[in-house]
């Protein structure tokens, strides 16, 4: 068997330090092709581009792997990579490393994770990586060992169809990291606040801000793991059905107003 073929994407844009680091880590594990957004796409969730056409351009970054820049969302990048760029299905898809956390409920807003989820829909073993530091000049060096260990495991074991991994990495020195912990998504939500301003013409506008509120203290969650300096790994699936509610809903009377 030849080298594994690894598709790399992200949501911070093709030139973000996070993806440059991820590419460096992946080049030690296999053959790398990058298809990533041409501009930041944070907070895009599982958006796809259907009302405007997509652009895809091969760009030169360095000689040891191909890099394509795409005008669309992270999900668009995965779809275009699989359908138009790669000659065969990749052995692994990695997304990130995101500048900033994608733990707990943030998974639903995350472009990084939407790319990984899209990969799992295409039956590609897929992982989203995020570092708990949103700064452009964040230090990704300690992530190398954990990213490579997790990616190697996924290449070796595969993942069940329709399941990807959501990996978050604390922004601390390597020696402070306690290890890798398999977790579930913590219950929590974003409590929004809108910063209400007026533009120079006197018209109102709003900036979305807010803070994360954790709703539980279980040590089984990604939030607990990260707070205690573990790298969190949450297996993620895309059946949204609340199966346990089906019997209850069947008791409702839909024939009476």
């Amino acid at each position: 068997m030849g080298k594994p073929l690894i598709l790399v994407t992200n949501d911070d844009g093709v030139m973000a330090p996070g993806i440059r680091n991820l590419v460096t880590f992946m080049l030690e594990l296999g053959e790398v092709v990058v298809v990533a957004p041409d501009k930041p796409q944070s907070g895009m969730g599982h958006a796809v581009t259907i009302t405007i056409p997509l652009r895809l351009e091969k760009i030169h970054v360095n000689g040891n792997h191909d890099v394509y820049s795409c005008s669309g969302t992270p999900v668009d990048c995965v779809k275009l990579a699989v359908n138009k760029v790669l000659k065969r299905k990749p052995d692994l898809l990695v997304s990130g490393i995101n500048h900033g956390a994608n733990s707990s409920i943030s998974v639903i807003y995350s472009g990084t994770m939407s790319a990984a989820i899209e990969g799992s829909m295409e039956s590609i073993p897929s992982i989203g990586f995020s570092l708990l530091d949103h700064r452009f000049d964040a230090d990704f060096s300690h992530a190398r060992e954990f990213v490579q260990r997790i990616a190697s495991n996924v290449i070796e074991h595969g993942l069940p169809k329709g399941i990807c991994l959501n990996v978050n990495i604390p922004a601390v020195e390597q020696k402070q990291i306690m290890g890798i912990k398999i977790c579930r998504q913590a219950r929590g939500n974003w409590e929004e606040e809108f910063d209400h301003r007026q533009d120079p013409r006197g018209k109102d506008y709003y900036w979305l801000t807010g803070k994360f509120a954790l709703h539980e203290n279980s040590n089984e969650t990604d939030e607990w793991a990260l707070k205690n300096n573990y790298v969190s790994v949450v297996p993620i699936q895309f059946d949204f059905t609340a199966h346990e509610l089906i019997p209850e809903l069947n008791k409702w009377d839909f024939n009476v107003k």
Copy 2:
């Protein structure tokens, strides 16, 4: 108790016939406030707007309810409505009626459903409605009875915290509809094809197209229900954890490269 307060939004834009019909149906059940995108936002998934400011404008549609037009995504609309428009938490959030289906895996790409999911995160009983006809001049008249029955049930019974409903309505005459069926999300995916063209300057561009592929034939699914002329109702939750995989992942060796 006064009339229930009903927040109405969608992803096709504030002036789409689907939301105008939904407002008409809801005015018979309670007090209605509309906060919806100022332009179509189909395929936006759970996107939020964080890199540009949001605009929110009260517009005049008719005298019996307030209507706000928002420059952001469906999720932005819900957040702004809850935080800046409504004086109290609404008793019900309804999103739609979408011009086109949001069954099976389409729930993850759907702006209509992302608004309903966001509502459930804010502990608002929430429902997304979609009609299986994407045309602008689709006939929504037969949807009235089913939309009102389901909404009335949710107002009466509530929904567990963190769960909303995904309702899809066949595009057939009312007498052909077999009833309302509680379902689970069918397993399937979109098989993409990209329409590859060149612009007048000779540069490549791509249109995302594709067709839905159903992976199962169970009569428990929304796809089965719709094919057999039932209105499908799927309870939807936002814990993405693949809980069943956690024991298996704990067997992996993360200490060996």
